[in-house]
Symmetry: C2
């Protein structure tokens, strides 16, 4: 039997947890002191925080500890990328019941560290405490390299709407898992470990994107946030979306709608952006619609009547609990 976190004790557990984290050149002081010190070469820092809670955001029978670590880092790094910044560091605060196997926290730490490594960021702070439910709060930091941040509010009528990264894969994978299946593996893997197109954020900023947002709640829901913040209307063209083969197969097998996964499925952490007319889209970005006068989100010029996204205090659609 694996030792539990209670058997190990708080301070040895924190030490064991933070042992997974390697420094980068940007790290002046890593985990283990009262606070960490990391370079902010731009003279400004981009920062965001997001909490994952067992039962609400993940299930231990559907995701490994490393998967949860990857995901907790990814959702935050995607937010940093959505500002046009490069992630540099993360801090993780974890609460765990006393009977949690210490190996689970090892897996979590290894996932956090591995996802950070994919973007060249360091895990600079880790904290573990006792709590009734597994909870992972990650804070990510990032650097703008002298550029202005790309907010949600800069889209203008006439802009091109574009997307980088995948949509619908995580929702399809979650649907598969929720029906008790484990395949298609590509969909399940997409749910377990989203792969946000991190580099596409700074590239969009360099090419002059007028607005950008991380697609975490679902494409239509998040475009709704962008439209509202910018005071514009956006229209999504379904012709821009191919249904990948595993998604088509899963939809048929489960009696589900691929288009709903694509347009309303969250948790892939794609990036959506608006680009001024005439901008050639950077690599990795594809046109998915237009920005116009008005308000709200339409699909092929019409209202969307399906589910649009996710509200964490309600249960509008199928979720992990």
């Amino acid at each position: 039997m694996s030792e539990t976190v209670a058997e190990i004790g708080e301070f040895p557990m924190i030490e064991r947890f933070t042992r997974h984290f390697a420094a980068t050149e940007a790290v002046e002081l890593g985990p283990g002191d009262d606070a960490a010190v990391v370079a902010a070469p731009d003279g400004r820092i981009v920062a965001c925080t997001d909490m994952l809670i067992e039962g609400n955001h993940f299930r231990r029978d559907w995701c490994s500890a490393a998967d949860v670590g990857h995901r907790a880092a990814a959702v935050n790094f995607a937010d940093v990328a959505a500002m046009g910044a490069r992630p540099t560091a993360l801090l993780a605060a974890v609460s765990a019941p006393r009977d949690t196997p210490a190996e689970w926290l090892d897996g979590l730490a290894s996932g956090l560290a591995a996802e950070a490594a994919t973007v060249g960021a360091a895990v600079i702070g880790g904290d573990t405490t006792r709590g009734p439910q597994l909870t992972v709060t990650v804070t990510a930091l990032g650097d703008l390299a002298g550029r202005r941040p790309i907010t949600r509010s800069g889209a203008r009528p006439g802009d091109t709407l574009a997307l980088a990264g995948r949509v619908g894969w995580a929702a399809a994978g979650l649907h598969v898992l929720s029906r008790g299946f484990r395949s298609p593996g590509t969909l399940v893997a997409a749910y377990r470990r989203p792969e946000p197109p991190y580099a596409a954020g700074p590239e969009a900023a360099l090419m002059g994107a007028s607005a950008m947002i991380d697609v975490s709640d679902g494409l239509l829901a998040d475009l709704g946030h962008l439209a509202e913040a910018s005071g514009v209307a956006v229209d999504v063209e379904t012709a821009a979306f191919d249904v990948p083969e595993p998604m088509a197969n899963a939809a048929e097998a489960l009696g589900a709608e691929s288009l709903t996964w694509l347009l309303a499925g969250g948790e892939d952490h794609a990036l959506a952006a608006a680009f001024p007319p005439g901008v050639i889209l950077p690599q990795g970005w594809r046109r998915i619609g237009t920005v116009g006068e008005g308000a709200g989100v339409t699909v092929d010029g019409r209202s969307w009547t399906g589910p649009a996204g996710w509200d964490h205090f309600e249960k509008r659609r199928e979720k992990t609990q």
Copy 2:
């Protein structure tokens, strides 16, 4: 009846929560986008994160929502100050059960904002999500103004051990509350809203402190961390501690030991530091002992046999549950 967070919904609740937060000059972009942007004039950023969980770190019948907000901010700002840095910003991620009154989150946000205001920092990010237990994770950021960070590991034999701020007050206040009393009010208030000596951190750094730590777990426990990290022994002289009158009264009434509160009581978030020989202690600091060769912590040259501090995965001593 107050509305609950579920009745309000996630996005309106986040908006309502973040409405409490005023910007400072350092804030380029506050809450409401994918991430915030704040100045890091030093070209480095100090960062730490800490989680407070209902039942483990606070009780709603003992602390108001604003108290919890003050405390969640204070524990993190004290960590920033313990590096010799000035707090500049914080981010707060909150999980709350669906039936939590929205007013409670209002109170929490107002406490976070008020504590941030005391140090000139801004709340730059806020997130709320559903979870089984009230959980508040705060990440604090700070600026070193060109100075090196003061770690736990720089104390050397011959250094003077010094303290800024109060110790024992919060532990005494918690003891009072746990026995069902509400007075002495000064002790209870000290537990509910610690008042860390924030300015003493940068001042100690300016005066050449060799090591510093935030006293969160108890003076002896935290000095133990400092001694271990520095590879030294520290001795605390009890003659340096006066027992304040309300503490003496409470100890007598409750049959408790003031010295245990002073030496082993946590959560006041005093700062403890080592200063090289010959340094004149900055204002607000007082000598409490010496640093010597060896390892471990002694009290008046002898081993301490009482409780030393707190382990969040065990229940070594009386706590909020």
